[in-house]
């Protein structure tokens, strides 16, 4: 089953790309990579698992960010979010036989990711969700499917070049985020805002000296304003993005890990990266080694 699918994939991707220009009704207007949807996926899973239930349902709810260009972004007029995280979501859904049009995208912000999983508001959280030991106590996190690090976004004319330069400067990020905590440790004055876009505006207006968060997100903003903004400093933290699932369904871990490992091998992972984060001109990195499931 799996092997025939992998073999068919190359042909299907070529066909799909050729047809993508025509635009089909099932496609909800996004321009990410195309993923083949498994057929009769429910037969692949054991009785009583969450995967089987989802596959039989033909529906899945995935929590993503709506305000991070490149990672997960949904404009006011978009039908579906675009970015690397939604692409990973599509790969997982396709393995359950669920097409992209049947995924219900739910906006999650940093503070409600754990509650949403615990209360069953969403089945998966793929929202620049760094794996930490504390989080793994309350929710499951499979992965990492992507590793990034904290960097700085400054105005093109800024004097900030190294991490030592941030001492005593004002650096903004989202209120309560890990990045803000880390930059405080470097001696900067943390300035929290509700969203990343407000923070970028503050940098552009000269109200703060820099913005800090995961490099992947900063690159997305720098790409929108290439003349006025630049990303500086080598990554000074390691953020390992994982897929969140509820601890009520521990069997999901193996499935997520296996599916994403297959995607890394057959090039789907690379396609997802190139059609999203890769558009800002970054080299497609080597996929990270996934953690073993407990």
């Amino acid at each position: 089953m799996r092997f025939t699918r992998t073999k068919a994939l190359a042909v299907a991707t070529g066909l799909a790309l050729a047809l993508a220009a025509c635009g089909d009704a099932g496609d909800d207007g996004d321009d990410g990579a195309d993923v083949d949807v498994a057929e009769n996926a429910a037969d692949d899973f054991d009785e009583g698992t969450r995967m089987k239930a989802l596959a039989e349902d033909g529906k899945i709810r995935i929590g993503v960010k709506f305000d991070q260009p490149g990672i997960g972004f949904k404009g006011a007029t978009d039908d579906a979010p675009r970015g690397f995280d939604p692409e990973i979501g599509k790969i997982l859904a396709a393995d359950l036989g669920i097409p992209a049009s049947d995924i219900e995208w739910v906006e999650t912000v940093s503070t409600n990711r754990e509650p949403f999983l615990e209360q069953g508001e969403v089945d998966l959280v793929i929202a620049s969700y760094s794996i930490t030991d504390e989080r793994r106590k309350v929710v499951g996190q499979a992965g990492p499917y992507y590793v990034t690090g904290q960097q700085l976004l400054v105005r093109s004319d800024s004097d900030i070049e190294t991490l030592d330069d941030v001492k005593g400067t004002e650096v903004c990020s989202v209120t309560g985020s890990t990045s803000l905590d880390n930059i405080k440790a470097e001696g900067a004055k943390p300035r929290g805002f509700d969203t990343y876009s407000e923070c970028v505006d503050q940098v552009l207006d000269g109200a703060v000296d820099a913005m800090t968060t995961d490099g992947a997100i900063l690159l997305g903003y720098a790409a929108e304003n290439p003349d006025e903004l630049k990303v500086v400093v080598d990554p000074f933290s390691e953020e390992r993005y994982g897929v969140g699932y509820s601890l009520d369904h521990p069997e999901m871990c193996e499935w997520i890990t296996d599916t994403l490992e297959d995607a890394q091998e057959d090039g789907l992972w690379a396609d997802a990266f190139e059609s999203t984060l890769g558009e800002s001109g970054v080299e497609t990195p080597e996929p990270p080694q996934m953690d073993a499931c407990a």
Binding site: R135, S177, R191, D194, E198, D205, A207
Partner: protein, 186 residues
């Protein structure tokens, strides 16, 4: 007198009817866009603590908003003094200033304590709005903690809620004490 009267009325109407969040957005988002970042205050130092433009802007927003309410509380206090009192003052030959100073205001200030307390309590809680405008105050700190210790969310939240309750209780109890102290037998 009438020009000041109109100006005060305009100010109070304007700021009492504008949501605090909008004033904050104007101060923290719109002002920098218009080129006013208030960076000039950065040089000021008070007892080793440096004033930041962000703190200044947040203070400005809270001050503009709360002043209107304080103003109304004061007005209600003056209105609580029976008109006969001022008339009696004038009848014994006091000037306007004297009758205000010795007759009306002492009574008005007593009446003003309860509404003013409510305004101060509201101000105390309104400071939490600054969390999303660059100030690392209690709510922002709470968010950092919950983000770092996502397995302890509820205890952290309760601890901060209790913190606010304690602060508000201190204000309330102080105001009761003052009220009892200055009570007049009527």
């Amino acid at each position: 007198m009438s020009i000041l009267n109109k100006a005060a009325a305009l100010y109070v109407t304007l700021f009492r009817n504008t949501p605090l969040l909008m004033i904050f957005i104007f101060m923290a988002v719109a002002m920098p866009k218009l080129g006013y970042t208030f960076k000039v205050v950065e040089g000021i130092e008070i007892g080793g603590w440096e004033v930041s433009a962000f703190f200044f802007r947040s203070c400005l927003a809270l001050t503009l908003y709360t002043s209107a309410f304080v103003c109304e509380a004061m007005r209600s206090g003056v209105n609580a003094v029976p008109l006969g009192q001022a008339e009696a003052g004038r009848a014994v030959g006091l000037t306007f200033i004297q009758s205000m100073r010795h007759v009306v205001l002492p009574q008005a200030l007593r009446a003003v304590i309860p509404p003013l307390t409510s305004v101060q309590v509201a101000l105390l809680k309104n400071t939490s709005v600054a969390a999303v405008f660059g100030m690392a105050e209690a709510v922002a700190t709470m968010r950092i903690l919950t983000n770092r210790n996502s397995d302890e969310t509820i205890p952290i939240f309760l601890a901060f809620a209790v913190g606010y309750i304690i602060l508000v209780e201190v204000v309330s109890l102080t105001s009761y004490a003052i009220e009892r102290k200055v009570r007049v037998a009527r």
